[in-house]
């Protein structure tokens, strides 16, 4: 018989349960490369079909399976079982409204993303060919464009837990910075105007949970600091 992995999974069915509870499961270890998502899939397919969670690509690209794993946010599909202390506590992303089990309401998160107008804004006429960048200008986007909007950082941020209605949160601010540092974008002033606000930007208190949680090894805290410096630079 193969080695068994112990899990404790957050459960909540709005049609049956008054409040959420943790349910224990045991899943056989399927190999050294087994990821947490494999264990959740095993539960759903073999043990309990009612377990509900989001997943899609299974390789850390789509950002669907952001979860709180043993107290830290991460993607189930790229989190190896091997490094996790058992029983593995699997909960939904923190500070979110739970729709069912591990599925949370992401509407507000994506609405905040929309607020920063995440597209290239230009005023100059469209050139005959594409808008070119030097290799150096392109390199500015490294560490910014890789964000997959999984929500692991934003939902790890205590400032966002308590002021999420007004504070934009690390993911949205990292994305805002992505357009601010883009040499082709011509709306930096407008973008900074929108962000210069005691709540939207300045609720960041350098807690840095976002940086620790990011499954793509990005650094939203540094991106937020860069926006602050841009705002400071245009004042002096």
């Amino acid at each position: 018989m193969s080695e068994m992995i112990k899990l404790s999974v957050f459960r909540y069915d709005p049609e049956k349960d008054d409040k959420p509870f943790m349910q224990a499961y045991e899943v056989p270890l399927s190999g050294s490369g087994m990821k947490l998502l494999d264990a959740l899939n095993y539960i759903k397919w073999k043990l309990d079909g009612t377990l509900t969670y989001r997943r899609s690509c299974g390789e850390g690209v789509c950002g669907s399976d952001g979860l709180n794993i043993n107290g830290i946010n991460g993607l189930a599909c790229i989190t190896p079982i091997a490094g996790l202390k058992q029983p593995i506590h699997v909960r939904p992303l923190p500070g979110m409204e739970v729709i069912r089990d591990l599925v949370v309401d992401m509407d507000h998160f994506f609405d905040q993303y929309r607020q920063i107008q995440p597209w290239l804004k230009t005023t100059t006429p469209v050139p005959e060919h594409e808008r070119l960048q030097t290799p150096g200008q392109r390199a500015e986007l490294d560490g910014q464009y890789e964000c997959i909007l999984c929500g692991c950082c934003t939902t790890s941020c205590p400032s966002w837990w308590w002021n999420g209605d007004r504070f934009l949160g690390p993911a949205t601010l990292l994305q805002a910075n992505r357009w601010i540092v883009d040499s082709r974008d011509e709306a930096m002033g407008e973008r900074l105007d929108q962000l210069e606000d005691a709540f939207r930007l300045y609720r960041c208190h350098q807690i840095m949970n976002c940086m620790e949680a990011c499954p793509k090894d990005l650094n939203p805290t540094a991106a937020i600091d860069n926006i602050k410096r841009k705002i400071l630079a245009r004042k002096s």
Binding site: P14, P20, P92, P94, E97, V98, P158, M208, R229
Partner: protein
């Protein structure tokens, strides 16, 4: 949904109670707490100054309070709060300025500041 009318309030997923503490998170929270301790120490300090400069009897009284357990504890707390707040403040300023902004340096600097504060707390505890 067929029971929209009966839809109940969705529960909030657990957050602070379950989130695992990181060195950077601890450094940020303790920065706020130590700032509060320092502000609260100001009235205590003024009260002590007032007491010490009033009359010789008041001076003796204030001095004996300072050497009591509670007085020593206050000094110890204010001392470590000052040390931590100063060091972590420099850390925050440097990160704001764009130095030590890599993920590794953010982590390492938090650990260094916390470790130094623990050492200072120990030394101060022995000295007082």
């Amino acid at each position: 949904m067929n029971n929209v009318g009966k839809m109940k309030q969705r529960p909030l997923s657990p957050r602070l109670s379950i989130y695992r503490w990181q060195a950077t998170m601890l450094a940020s929270v303790v920065h706020r707490a130590s700032g509060l301790v320092l502000v609260l120490f100001v009235p205590l300090y003024l009260w002590l100054l007032h007491g010490m400069t009033g009359s010789p009897e008041d001076f003796v009284q204030a001095q004996s309070w300072l050497h009591s357990e509670l007085g020593k504890l206050s000094l110890w707390l204010a001392g470590i709060a000052l040390f931590f707040h100063f060091c972590n403040g420099l850390r925050f300023l440097s990160i704001d300025a764009g130095w030590c902004e890599s993920r590794q340096m953010m982590r390492l600097s938090a650990r260094i500041v916390i470790a130094l504060t623990l050492v200072i707390a120990l030394i101060l505890g022995i000295l007082l």
